[in-house]
């Protein structure tokens, strides 16, 4: 395997201390800590799409925010092309350098565009910030080129328009164009299609897929929608309460899930065919909050297959072969 690693995340922790009242401080109560990301490791190769799926509150978005430096890491290391992010050694890369080469696309195309800026201003701003394409003509050529690549053709029609004049799908294309204008090597896409209608969702996924194929860009695709993952991701990581519980090649995880949580999650994805109605594994209750984590395996209180050992032993993420890893005592026993 000589493929180049674009991103390596090693044992990442992100804890948020809860705000404490004066009274509790005087009582010397222990400070409560939200363990949003609690020991996560993964890597993304050049041109690869890794999907990160899980329910709200599992830590998916915190990972993206930490990767791009919007949150400080509590522990662990992030390497971008082998260089440590945010460090000050020779073998490190500054946040500003990172943000030129890694870009984010957020969920809501209505909130992530400045309503008072024209499309040209929005898409050219990253070039201004990073001091690229200083010549006006070159800059506007670059903006037009990237808008056309994002499917806004002809680009001249869009340059002087404002976000409110565009539809949701067109806005998301503008967001993607603004992310692509710096020719990043890594795109962090946080639920990029959740707010869009079915036919537009398909267009945006196809656009991201085309960019990946033509540019060899790597994508971390964060979503709660397992349906879209199969079309788009090479590998799939399933998160539960701040940890990856299962990771592997997409087809392998979708067709042969090993972790009881992955199995349950897959069983409740609504299938667009009434003939395929099947037995759902519906977990009771909701994801507990990551302040008071259960001992042992953190999934055991909701796990339909939990054994006594699960209350005590916290399973590590172990290889099953072919890059398929799972953190479950049962899968290991078999």
């Amino acid at each position: 395997m000589s493929t180049e690693l674009i991103l390596e995340v090693k044992d990442l922790y992100k804890h948020f201390p809860m705000r404490q009242s004066m009274l509790n401080m005087l009582r010397r109560r222990k400070l409560e800590i939200v363990r949003a990301v609690d020991g996560v490791s993964f890597s993304i190769e050049k041109g690869e799409v890794l999907a990160l799926v899980g329910e709200s509150g599992c830590g998916k978005t915190t990972i993206a925010r930490t990767l791009i430096g919007l949150e400080k890491v509590t522990g662990g290391e992030i390497l971008f092309k082998g260089k440590s992010v945010g460090g000050d050694g020779v073998q490190s890369i500054s946040l500003k350098q990172l943000r030129q080469r890694a870009q984010v696309v957020f969920q809501d195309p209505y909130e992530s565009l400045n309503p008072r800026a024209t499309i040209y201003d929005i898409v050219s701003e990253p070039l201004v910030v990073h001091d690229l394409f200083k010549d006006d003509h070159e800059r506007s050529e670059r903006v037009k080129q990237v808008l056309e690549e994002a499917g806004l053709r002809p680009a001249e029609d869009y340059l002087l328009r404002y976000p409110h004049e565009l539809s949701g799908g067109q806005r998301q294309r503008v967001v993607i164009a603004a992310a692509m204008v710096l020719e990043p090597e890594l795109l962090l896409a946080d639920e990029p299609v959740s707010m869009l209608d079915v036919s537009i969702r398909a267009e945006i996924l196809n656009l991201l897929n085309a960019l990946r194929r033509s540019r060899g860009i790597s994508i971390l695709f964060i979503t709660h929608d397992l349906g879209t993952v199969g079309y788009f991701a090479d590998r799939l990581a399933v998160m539960y309460l701040g940890r990856i519980v299962e990771i592997g090649p997409t087809a392998e995880v979708l067709n042969n899930p090993q972790h009881p949580y992955t199995k349950a999650l897959l069983s409740v994805v609504p299938m667009p065919n009434p003939k395929l109605r099947r037995k759902m594994i519906i977990l009771s209750g909701e994801t507990p909050n990551p302040i008071n984590l259960p001992g042992g395996c953190r999934f055991h209180p909701r796990c339909p297959l939990a054994m006594d050992a699960c209350k005590v032993n916290d399973p590590s993420l172990d290889e099953l072969g072919n890059g398929h890893q799972v953190a479950c005592l049962l899968a290991k026993a078999e």
Binding site: V49, E55, S56, S167, G169, D197, V198, S199, R201, A202, E203, L205, N206, N209, A210, R213, H224, D225, L226, G227, T228, V229, G230, Y231, F232, A233, D234, T250, A251, L254, A264, L265, L266, V268, V269, P270, M271, P272, N273, P274, K275, L276, R277, M280, I282, L283, S284, E286
Partner: protein, 346 residues
């Protein structure tokens, strides 16, 4: 004119016929939000209204409930509930039907509850406003309802902000059931929820339906949810019904080009392929029509890959022209490609 769309089915609970609704916009413009919408709901049945944003799903519910905003007006059609035309009733008579005969749960469970009122009190208020029940039996009923929707009675006195999204939606369902309606309208009841919570809520709706013999009209943009839940499906496009029939037929033998494309564009776990070789998802070029600038003829014709000359001139009719009968169930599609026997003209 009032032929039944579901043959051999006994009594029809709700029957919507040729319903048309307009909205008056600024500058004297008129948006024809609904035109010629017809469908039936049988007792205990689940009917799905599905389509993309702006296709008229919610407007259909609001027209049937007569809860349109002040600039909206029903221009023609009938809504029969157990044989009575709701559109002929006075506002006062209509008020008696809401909650007692049909209730609605709205899209944002977060915003539909009063934030400064205890959950139990909100449910009791709904009972007291509509029933002639005294306080004590009403309180008893609150307990029953909470149990029915799976909320522990100990949480009766909590406020909405102490509830999670899923629990709030359960509270909304309890409130909608307060006056024992026969028909429940659910407008995107699970859209903002996680898949697991969505599965819990859908399971709850199925359970309640079986226990109470409730009919449900489910409005959603999620083709998967409709396939899991519904007996019949109404596919809407640009304020009109594009296709209507039993879910099995609509999903497995879609007749309208819009339904066909929509199903192809929907990501399906079972059809997943190797992403690196990259077969793209199907898309529908163009955008849905603006309701104040509708194209002539079939509203889907500008985006339709099978569009013919007649499509841009004559509006296809769902009920009279193009009926498609298969295995005893009627499956209708408003499309010129189908003739009266539902045979595809090539």
């Amino acid at each position: 004119m009032n032929e039944t769309l579901r043959p051999n089915s006994g009594q029809v609970l709700l029957s919507v016929r040729h319903l048309a609704t307009e909205f008056h916009l600024a500058d004297k413009q008129v948006a024809r939000a609904l035109e010629d919408v017809s469908f039936d709901v049988l007792p205990g049945q689940t009917v799905g209204l599905v389509g993309e944003s702006g296709c008229g799903k919610t407007t259909t519910l609001m027209s049937v409930m007569r809860l349109l905003p002040s600039n909206g007006r029903i221009t023609s059609g009938n809504v029969f509930f157990k044989g009575n035309d709701l559109l002929a009733l006075s506002e006062r008579e209509m008020r008696d039907h809401r909650w007692k005969d049909m209730a609605i749960i709205f899209q944002g469970a977060m915003n539909a509850l009063n934030p400064v009122m205890r959950i139990g009190d909100q449910i009791r208020e709904a009972i007291l406003l509509h029933n002639l029940m005294d306080r004590d039996p009403a309180e008893h009923r609150v307990g029953e309802l909470l149990e029915l929707v799976g909320i522990p009675r100990s949480r009766r006195d909590q406020y909405p902000h102490q509830y999670s999204g899923g629990m709030r939606q359960r509270a909304m369902i309890a409130m909608a059931l307060a006056c024992s309606p026969d028909l429940l309208f659910a407008d995107e009841p699970t859209t903002a929820l996680d898949v697991m919570i969505q599965a819990q809520i859908l399971e709850l709706l199925k359970e309640i339906q079986q226990k109470l013999g409730l009919a449900i009209v489910l409005v959603t943009h999620d083709l998967g949810v409709v396939a899991e839940m519904c007996d019949d499906v109404v596919v809407m496009y640009g304020g009109k019904v594009a296709e209507y029939g039993p879910a099995e037929l609509v999903y497995n033998q879609p007749q309208h080009p819009y339904t066909q494309r929509l199903l192809e564009a929907f990501p399906d776990l079972n059809r997943s392929n190797d992403p690196s070789t990259g077969k793209d998802l199907a898309t529908i070029p163009g955008t849905p029509p603006r309701l104040n600038a509708l194209p002539p003829g079939c509203r889907f014709s500008p985006r339709c890959h099978k569009s013919m000359e007649v499509c841009t001139q004559v509006t296809p009719d769902l009920l009279t022209q193009n009926t498609f009968v298969s295995s005893g169930a009627r499956h209708l599609a408003a499309c010129h490609l189908l003739d009266n026997e539902g045979i595809q003209k090539s």
